[in-house]
Amino acid sequence: MKNKLEEIRKKRGLSQEELAELLKVSRQTIGSIENGRYNPSITLAFKIARCFKMSIEKIFIYEEDKDEY
């Protein structure tokens, strides 16, 4: 899933390590989410949104798979 996590994180002046510490996850998890290799759980997505005081939709971009239908 595409997301703007890296862009938002850098705007707030946070490193991956710092964000990981705030969310109580590993730095590798943040890295994997940012490059789209791993989709966070709904709980983690909410925590990320709350951390940045934004809605989930502003951070994570859901695009329907055209091949699904």
């Binding site: 996850v25 590993s26 791993y38």
Partner: protein, 136 residues
Amino acid sequence: MNIKKEKTFFVVLLILGAALILAGIIIDHLSEFDTEGILSGLGGGWVIISWFKLYQIKKHPDRYVKEKTEASDERSIAIRGMASYCTFLLSLILFAILALIFTYLNYTLPAVIAGIAFFIQFVGFIVFVFYYRHKL
């Protein structure tokens, strides 16, 4: 993550390990029963692990917390889940192949054992699928 709880757990494990070592020595030397060093060995393992963990917690608490967080974060759990599933499939295939090979070579007992192992894993998988299907 509660570091105090972790400390308590490993202190308890250390004491239990020491008690097991003592119990093993007493049973081996003072009774006719021979544990063949199993109790002492188990206790020794617990003592070494808990000593090492308590040392880590004392000397590098931040690193310890970081390692525990990394081990228990959702991505690590997802990775372990996927790896477990792949390993399960691999062992299922392996037991099936072994059962066939042993049957071909006329080794009856190993073939039966491999076949039973395959059957138990397969049935266990079906049972867990039904269980989690109802639970979730």
